[in-house]
């Protein structure tokens, strides 16, 4: 296959399980997805839907008792799951980097910003010591941190939340990665800061030619930042398509529900208002569609067999026996 | 533990191995060659010394060391006769009221000063000085005055005749010139003593080691062994392991160690074992205020129910003798006509029934007026042998239907809360005694106040009379009659159940020669012990002096 036409990241039937106390929880179930070069893909879903697990699984960051039990993750044509540990580490942080949810806890409290930043630089580039420092300061400036040389020697707790997230982003772009995986990068931040951080991400993505995998539960963010969106429910992919299409005409009742709960952009108290029912217990999923208990359109066959993920004529993928149906219709 | 009664008899070692009559030294390395100087004797001891001044040395370790550093006016010789030490002779006036000591001339203190009668006078003054923390003043209460007649003659006047007086002058004499301007309780001489004895103190590492060096000017002669090293090893099991690895040359053993552990080929090859009766006895004492024990039949029954020979064989591995009274066989006060009662359970039960104790309710335990015969036997913590004796007595009395509870109490509590306050029913203890047979403090009816030693509350006018008489009599034949009579009466009255006299069981390395067993033990001639040059183990360090 020609590399140029291959997606940057191709996940095939990725399945992740957690084992504990005699039960097996399938956190990610048979997910197939791809991210093209320069593209940004959003993965949305409620908490517990497996989106973070998916993001971590890409570079095998899942820690025991969790493990990838099936599937492949092809990145630039290589299966990440088949790499040796040291090869994988070159990809991690080098070619694929992460920005995590809570910058307050994601930075090591006992190391300075500079130490944490230079660590990645020295590891993945040939810059050492002084050059690493100069580069680090430059990166901090790049992500919009003022007085960067001073901040470079600060400890994380001396910075504000937004600044910490900028540091995280600086660390993520330090190695000129191809793919940036941002896991709820703004959830823990103040509203005003959120906007700034999102702008920064979009700007960086554009300027650096990054591909981005954005994990979020916030559809408004998706709309502003991504071209494509994948919706997950109970570890499974339930719908995937271009953002504009999906938002205009959701195919899966769950997506529809999510969109219905979406507040207007910039509205005060912009919390994802909850949909009726609860997210399911992954250890005790029903045999059929996992959305059955909350679905307004249930039919007997929904309970019998898990619907397949079918590609519709519009190039949309959806896991529902009657896509595009509206309740009451 | 019993009493911390030490004899400053001969050399220090005797303190712990205090002995009368060498019954069965198993072997002896009598001299074959010419004594050579050099080497060291390593002694293992459970405890450290505290104050190296004779009149303040209350614990047994201090007593042992002090015995090597100081001399009394008198000492016991190997046959247990009173013998000359710093005094070369002494006279007792016919009325027994004055004793005159003639000091040995040319004896010098370790610092070179001569020893004079003033030192003796000084020692006496300090013994009775209320500001000196000595517990030994009571032996000198009957002294009327001490007169220095000339530098080498001193006379002691008594208010009334006091036979144990000679023994009391075995107390180590202390140097006036070094101490007269010091507070004796805190003087640095407590840790840097100046004495007259065969050894001088070289080094004292608290809790670890006391090193003594031979006194080259000792008035008898310089000891052959250059050094006497007193190692403090508080755990019996460790002490024995040290013996097994040659870390210790001389130590007392427990009966178990002596009988079962010390007969390995290694120990046989390397060590010489000695064995002789210690001067003391183990007993069960009763609170005679208790109506059960005030009944002589009950005490006799218990005496018959307790199989002393079984205790001796089982726990002491036969290393001792059954006691019939307060004196060991080797004492001149011992009356051989007193025979131990053969154990007889039926007779015991009969006597108890006569006293009203039978098993009315058929539960296996004797009772009277609805109360079962049950009492607590208390003893002190820290003595495994005694604990086992208690357990065996408990089993033996169970055989006649008496229920015994054992309570083992930490020493200070034991003395203060239980013995002194008479809060006991029966007590298992041992007395280790002076060589003088005086038992006034133990059995005289006046000695029953709190803190005194007739804690059983024994009172017999005849015994009282004899004990007073014995103290006033100097003539040994007369005293023998008196104390044998005391022996007989006590054996009959049974304020105690006399159990046994244990043997002292020292073990000493074979390279040490000229170790001889005698009625007083093995230590009396320590200055004559030596190691042949080829076998010497420790290098001599002549500069060891402080």
């Amino acid at each position: 296959m020609d590399r140029s036409v291959m997606p940057l990241l191709q996940l095939d039937s990725l399945t992740v399980e957690y084992r504990g106390d005699g039960e097996v929880v399938r956190a990610v179930d048979d997910v197939t997805l791809s991210v093209e070069t320069g593209e940004s893909l959003a993965i949305v879903g409620e908490s517990g839907s497996g989106k973070t697990t998916l993001a971590l699984a890409v570079t095998r960051l899942i820690q025991p008792p969790g493990s990838v039990v099936a599937g492949r993750a092809l990145f630039e044509g290589r299966d990440l799951f088949a790499l040796r540990a040291d090869e994988l580490r070159r990809v991690r942080g080098g070619r694929i980097s992460y920005v995590f949810q809570d910058p307050a806890t994601s930075l090591n409290p006992v190391l300075t910003v500079g130490e944490q930043l230079s660590e990645a630089i020295e590891l993945h580039t040939d810059r050492r010591a002084e050059r690493a420092r100069a580069y680090g300061v430059e990166l901090l400036e790049r992500v919009g941190i003022r007085a960067a040389p001073q901040r470079y020697d600060a400890y994380p707790h001396e910075l504000s939340g937004g600044m910490r997230q900028r540091v995280m982003i600086a660390m993520a772009i330090a190695t000129r990665p191809k793919l940036l995986i941002a896991d709820e990068p703004t959830t823990a931040l103040d509203v005003t800061v959120q906007v700034q951080i999102l702008r920064l991400l979009v700007e960086l993505q554009r300027d650096l030619g990054l591909s981005m995998l954005l994990i979020t539960h916030d559809l408004t963010i998706v709309e502003r930042t991504c071209a494509r969106v994948a919706v997950m429910y109970a570890g499974r992919l339930v719908e995937e398509g271009a953002v504009a299409d999906v938002f205009a005409n959701p195919a899966h009742p769950y997506t529809r529900g999510l969109l219905a709960c979406r507040p207007a952009w910039g509205a005060v108290g912009r919390q994802l208002s909850t949909m009726p029912g609860q997210s399911p217990d992954l250890a005790k999923l029903p045999p059929g569609c996992a959305f059955v208990p909350r679905c307004p359109l249930v039919e007997p066959r929904c309970r019998e067999r898990l619907p397949t993920l079918d590609t519709t004529a519009e190039g949309r993928r959806v896991r529902c026996v009657k896509p595009f149906s509206k309740p009451g219709a | 533990m019993a009493t911390r009664w030490r004899r400053r008899v001969g050399l220090g070692l005797l303190g712990s191995l205090g002995i009368i009559g060498a019954v069965c030294a198993q072997s002896s390395t009598t001299d074959t060659g010419r004594p050579a100087t050099g080497d060291a004797l390593v002694v293992g001891s459970i405890g450290d010394a505290s104050r190296l001044l004779p009149i303040l040395a209350t614990d047994s370790a201090s007593g042992e060391i002090v015995g090597l550093l100081f001399n009394g006016l008198l000492k016991y010789d190997e046959h247990l006769h009173v013998a000359a030490d710093l005094a070369q002779s002494w006279d007792v006036s016919p009325d027994g009221l004055t004793i005159t000591f003639h000091l040995r001339p040319n004896v010098r203190w370790h610092d070179g000063q001569p020893v004079t009668a003033d030192d003796v006078r000084f020692t006496y003054d300090k013994l009775i000085d209320p500001n000196v923390k000595t517990p030994f003043s009571s032996s000198y209460e009957l002294v009327d005055g001490v007169d220095v007649l000339d530098p080498l003659t001193i006379r002691v006047r008594y208010k009334e005749p006091f036979a144990p007086a000679l023994e009391s002058w075995m107390m180590g004499i202390i140097p006036k010139h070094a101490l007269e301007h010091e507070d004796l309780n805190t003087t640095k001489l407590l840790r840097h003593p100046i004495g007259t004895g065969p050894y001088t103190l070289a080094k004292w590492k608290t809790g670890e080691l006391i090193a003594l060096a031979a006194n080259p000017n000792y008035f008898e002669h310089r000891p052959y062994l250059d050094r006497y090293l007193y190692r403090i090893i508080p755990d019996e099991a460790t002490l024995f392991l040290e013996l097994l690895t040659g870390g210790v040359d001389l130590s007392g053993l427990t009966p178990l160690q002596y009988a079962r552990q010390a007969n390995t080929p290694f120990v046989e090859r390397e060590y010489q074992r000695f064995r002789y009766p210690s001067f003391g006895f183990t007993y069960i004492g009763y609170n005679l205020q208790d109506p059960r024990f005030s009944d002589a039949r009950v005490r006799e029954a218990i005496d018959r129910a307790v199989d002393k020979q079984a205790i001796l064989n089982g726990i002491l591995f036969g290393l001792g003798a059954v006691a019939t009274g307060p004196y060991p066989k080797e004492s001149w006060a011992y009356d051989p006509s007193v025979q131990p009662l053969p154990p007889d359970r039926d007779e015991a039960r009969r006597l108890l029934a006569e006293a009203g104790w039978t098993d009315h309710d058929g539960d296996g335990w004797l009772d009277k007026d609805g109360q079962p015969f049950r009492f607590t036997l208390i003893t002190n913590q820290g003595n495994d042998v005694r604990k086992q004796v208690a357990e065996l007595v408990q089993q033996q009395l169970k055989g006649v239907g008496i229920q015994v509870d054992i309570k083992i109490i930490e020493w200070s509590t034991f003395v203060h809360e239980f013995i002194d306050k008479r809060r006991f029913e029966a007590v298992l203890l041992a007395w280790s005694l002076a060589r003088d047979p005086d038992l006034y403090d133990l059995f005289h009816s006046s000695k029953t106040k709190e803190g005194e030693y007739n804690f059983c509350g024994y009172a017999n006018p005849e015994v009282d009379r004899l004990l007073v008489e014995g103290r006033r009599t100097f003539d040994q034949t007369k005293r023998q009659d008196i104390y044998r009579q005391v022996h007989r009466i006590l054996a009959h009255d049974r304020p105690y159940t006399f159990l046994y006299v244990a043997d002292a069981l020292p073990i000493i390395h074979r390279r040490i020669r000229n170790v001889v067993s005698s009625p007083i033990g093995i230590g009396y001639n320590m200055i004559d012990w030596y190691v042949p040059p080829g076998e010497q183990r420790y290098r001599s360090r002549p500069t060891l002096q402080q």
Binding site: P64, P109, V110, L111, A120 | S50, L209, E410
Partner: protein, 327 residues
Amino acid sequence: MTRYLLNRVLGLIPILLWITVLSFGIIHLAPGKPTDTGAGFNPKVSLEARQRLEKLYGLDQPLHRQYARWLGQLARLDFGRSFLDDRPVIEKIGERLPVTLTINVLSLALVLLIAIPLGALAALRPHSLFDRATTVGVFIGYSMPSFWLALMCMAVFGVQLHWLPISGLHALDADSMGWLARQLDAAKHLILPVFVAAFVSLAGLSRFARSSMLEVLRQDYIRTARAKGLSESRVVFHHGLRNALLPIITILGLSIPDLIGGSVISETIFSIPGMGRLFYEAVMARDYPVIMALVTIGAVLTLLGNLLADLAYAWADPRIRVGQAAS
């Protein structure tokens, strides 16, 4: 900062006083008397002589007056003289302290050296064979009666194999050795006591290190470190261990008083004249001045240890360090 320190130190004084009052009470209420051991139960020591001794030691005074006297001495930093041998208490402690301190510091160092890596490694793979084996292993040390362990070590290494001396601190001929030989000799004597002390106390710290490490490894910044592509060992030792060690600093501060407290058992078995035996013998002989001095020193160190633990933690943890400087 100085003000803060001063406040805290001053705050300790009432607690300290209260501790001494309480201990003084307990000690004197406990049955038995100092005169029971030295002079007690000796037929040649009369009742009058014992009473005279009590008077000389001031034991005939009412308790509050005895306490006041003791406190007065303490104010002049005088712990008085031991009843047992009339030596200044401070001298007796001074003679014992170096030995105990040496053994405790060595064994603590050994424990730190073994327990922390062991605990940290076990935390990497919880429930793995290694984790289980170390858990059981360190608890075996904890679960053994120490005197039994000590005796067996002595029997094996001393008596059977002749590798090590059994007891004591120096060989008898240590004085005639050269400097180097003397140090070697001392080291040989210390091996067993230090090993036994370390082995029985391995469990606490290694379990603590394990749970601390487990906690740290769950943190987000560890994930960040991994996501950076750092090697596992750098993640664990550079990012993990440094954080996991922070609470251990507290533990170390709290264990300062333990450094001067020897184990009676170990010291008895190995014939080491240390603080443990001093204390035990003082208790058994009701040597009140020594007991009170040790209790007071122990209390002071406990309180200071708490303070020091806080300070050390603040020093080691940048979050608190700067926070305090700012406030």
